[in-house]
């Protein structure tokens, strides 16, 4: 790319190409969600079937494209039909057969196949609604970081340019000084989306201020928080955006080389990034003299190998350098001494994904969204016991209630909301009493949770909070790198106490000891992993103390999860003596003759629950 004019010419041409054919007849654009969740649900056969049927029917005015994550993962595979001047139609849970029907009825004859649309398929959506944009899941969203995901073909640089891609980079390189770029990012109030929420502009400013012969930009794409997948969505759905943002960061901070550290578990993302980088090199959007400005920037990909601690910035750099990914003490901070000992700016994928829009639309536009101290939007990955699982991008400050009940569609099976876990293994839980607080960095911290990377796992009355805390601890014990003692040994001891409690052997003293160890680990660990590891325990203990007490004093698990504390019983009034339970019991713990009430021998029972599933009369309960 030699100049802004050249970019504009490509953009105008690509814009037209997305809408119409060479002879100016209008195109019907059909997109299939081909991110990992889509592919897993079977989007590839759908895409093939559509292509096949379109060519068989000779539909020259239809362009079938792949796209990134559309957001409603649970209803994949998703096909959207976009036609000029008509409302978009979203088909969900499509298979090859339905795809062929859609091709012949809708694409050829122009009749929407309403039984396969969002409204026609999903019970909670009104029958008349055809486009996902009109569902409660979407209307509350504001897409900035995810704006191109599910819209453009992630493997086409032209489509990215058509939606103003690389215009921000062009603007920076041709009309802004590096410090002006830093000032814009500072003024926008953008904070790091990876967990800590450190202001991105400050970070950039620190690196820019350091003089060095070499500086680096690093993108943290090692999304390790179980339950969060927004970074994957950006990598798979909008890879060029990340490249553009990193190049802008390089220009602003004086770096000429960048690394993207991406999880090896994201093969689709890696392949799309590799392709995108190669294309940018070819088009001179990376490399020497970009936009004729004399600025040079080169980008490399490094694959992670499955270590949660590498999401910590210093550990990530150690890993890129080819070592065990152990964190380093700070200071010196990466902006002084980072990758290969040089000043380095590191941000995560979602943070970078906001940058081009901030440059193009201005800092005020961005800071106009969100709350006083948390600007912009945040992507949350809704999961767990919630109707609409998927990715949602909402302005900072939306309440948890709106997110769970309106956007998320509430809890399935008429169960009650118990808590939501944010920030994964580093975060904490938000109980029902805080459903109405506006979610931003500071509010979440205040109630003992944290924003983290945006995983939002909803739990209902069937989830045991002690068990959940134990689950996260098991994770951190596994993932502790072992470098510092508080984390390596402390988390292990903490886990043992939780195990004791869930086994029914805990004492009240154990609860005190548990709290003490938590504070010890928090205060003495070297990096963020250890410092935040006790959060799930502390927050569940704070908000659900009664559950811990029930485990310890009454030796009872109120949610019926902890196996050792369970007992199965037969309600005499309901038992018809059908013998089904006795026959299915693997250890012959159930006795009773036909047509007479049966009984469970608790000493023999292994609590497998087989009898309960088998009973047709709901006569077996667990306590």
């Amino acid at each position: 790319m030699k100049s802004l004019d050249e970019l504009n010419i490509i953009r105008d041409r690509a814009k037209i190409k997305m809408k119409s054919k060479k002879d100016n007849t209008e195109l019907i654009r059909v997109v299939v969600g081909m991110a990992t969740c889509g592919i897993a649900a079977g989007a590839k056969p759908v895409l093939d079937a559509l292509n096949d049927e379109v060519s068989k029917l000779g539909l020259g005015n239809v362009a079938v494209k792949q796209t990134g994550c559309i957001g409603i993962c649970q209803y994949e595979p998703i096909v959207e039909v976009i036609e000029q001047g008509k409302e978009k139609v979203t088909y969900v849970k499509v298979n090859a057969e339905k795809a062929r029907e859609i091709a012949s009825k809708h694409l050829k004859d122009g009749n929407v196949v309403s039984k396969y649309t969002v409204g026609g398929t999903i019970d909670s959506v009104d029958d008349g609604i055809c486009s996902v944009d009109d569902t409660a899941f979407y209307t509350k969203q504001k897409r900035v970081a995810l704006r191109n995901c599910g819209i453009i073909d992630p493997e086409s640089i032209d489509e990215y340019i058509a939606v103003d891609g690389f215009a921000a980079l062009g603007k920076c390189l041709t009309s802004l000084e590096p410090d002006e770029v830093v000032d814009i990012v500072k003024a926008s109030g953008l904070r790091g989306r990876g967990g800590g929420g450190f202001p991105a502009g400050l970070k950039w400013g620190f690196t820019a201020a350091n003089k060095a012969d070499k500086k680096y930009v690093v993108c943290n794409a090692d999304e390790g928080d179980p339950g969060a997948f927004m970074d994957r969505s950006v990598l798979e759905g909008d890879p060029y955006c990340l490249i553009e943002a990193m190049t802008i960061c390089g220009y602003a901070t004086g770096a000429d080389e960048g690394y993207i550290y991406v999880r090896a578990e994201y093969p689709v993302a890696v392949a799309r990034l590799e392709k995108a980088i190669a294309e940018c090199n070819e088009k001179n959007l990376l490399g020497k003299n970009i936009f004729g400005s004399g600025f040079e920037f080169n980008l490399h990909i490094r694959l992670g190998a499955g270590a949660f601690v590498c999401g910590e910035e210093t550990a990530l750099m150690t890993s890129i350098e080819g070592n065990r990914g152990e964190p380093r003490p700070r200071p010196p901070f990466p902006s002084v001494k980072g990758l290969f000992g040089k000043p380095t700016t590191e941000n995560n994928v979602e943070t970078f994904a906001n940058i081009p829009q901030i440059i193009l639309k201005g800092a005020e536009w961005f800071s106009g969204m969100g709350t006083e101290k948390s600007k912009g939007t945040k992507v949350f990955a809704l999961g767990g016991k919630i109707m609409n699982t998927g990715l949602v991008e909402i302005p900072m400050g939306v309440t948890l209630r709106e997110t769970v009940e309106e956007i998320g569609g509430g809890i399935p099976n008429g169960k009650k909301f118990k808590a939501a876990q944010t920030g994964g293994p580093s975060g904490g839980c938000i109980p029902a009493e805080y459903l109405d607080i506006p979610m931003d960095y500071d509010n979440l911290l205040q109630i003992g949770a944290m924003m983290g990377s945006g995983g939002l796992i909803v739990m209902d009355e069937d989830n045991c909070m002690v068990d959940i805390a134990k689950f996260f601890l098991e994770f951190t014990v596994d993932e502790s790198c072992g470098k510092c003692t508080p984390c390596r040994i402390g988390t292990k001891r903490l886990y043992e106490i939780l195990e004791k409690i869930t086994n029914g052997d805990g004492t009240l003293e154990d609860l005190d000891k548990m709290e003490e160890i938590c504070h010890y680990i928090k205060e003495n660990s070297l990096c963020g992993l250890g410092q935040s590891a006790p959060n799930p325990v502390l927050s569940t203990y704070k908000h659900f103390k009664d559950e811990y007490i029930a485990h310890v004093v009454e030796k009872r698990c109120p949610s019926g999860v902890c196996k050792n504390l369970l007992s199965y019983e037969i309600i005499a009034d309901k038992c018809r003596g059908c013998t089904a339970c006795a026959r299915v019991c693997p250890v012959d713990a159930i006795s009773g003759s036909p047509k007479n009430v049966h009984k469970i021998d608790k000493a023999k029972c292994i609590k497998c629950g087989a009898c309960m599933t088998r009973c047709k009369f709901d006569a077996i309960i667990k306590k």
Partner: protein, 167 residues
């Protein structure tokens, strides 16, 4: 995560050794490429037995202990062979909350081995994995490259049989 070097006989071919040699040749000037070399080696051999680690250490001119240190640090590296069909059960938060532990127990029960092990006929191995990012389909398992979602323990046997009959 505990890892043990495999005690099974190493059966590397010359062709594999040549492939690895070429990769090392292209990377040995840049020590930061060590992890990349190990990732490639695992693609070639399927796992990283002692013999392969020695080849990497000598080729890259780094101490063997460094290679071993990295191989035990990152969960992606495996020191024992995988079965012809590798079953990964996701134990990420979303899957866990929706009962993936019960699914894992069922897989272990059906195959008669524990996570991290390989059946004696080398047909199946089981591993626990962290989030594979398909939370919307929780609980999920992945067999080789295929993902099975929205599972209940009762579905496990049928799925495994499908693979057993294939071989």
């Amino acid at each position: 995560m505990k890892k043990r070097i495999s005690t099974l006989q190493f059966e590397g071919t010359e062709r594999q050794a040549r492939q690895l040699g070429n990769i090392i040749e292209g990377c040995k000037k840049d020590k930061s490429m060590l992890m990349y070399v190990m990732q490639q080696a695992q693609l070639i051999y399927g796992y990283l037995p002692y013999e392969v680690q020695v080849m990497i250490a000598e080729g890259m001119d780094v101490p063997l202990e460094k290679v071993y240190g990295i191989s035990t640090f990152y969960s992606q590296f495996t020191l024992s062979p995988k079965g012809k069909n590798n079953i990964s059960v996701c134990l990420g938060t979303a899957c866990y909350v929706k009962g993936s532990k019960q699914v894992l127990d069922k897989v272990c029960e059906v195959l008669g081995i524990n996570p991290g092990e390989c059946t004696s006929d080398r047909l199946f191995s089981i591993e626990e994995c962290r989030c594979i990012g398909a939370c919307g389909l929780a609980p999920v398992i992945m067999i080789n490259d295929e993902v099975y979602g929205n599972l209940a323990p009762g579905d496990v046997e049928g799925i495994i049989d499908k693979y057993r009959n294939k071989n």
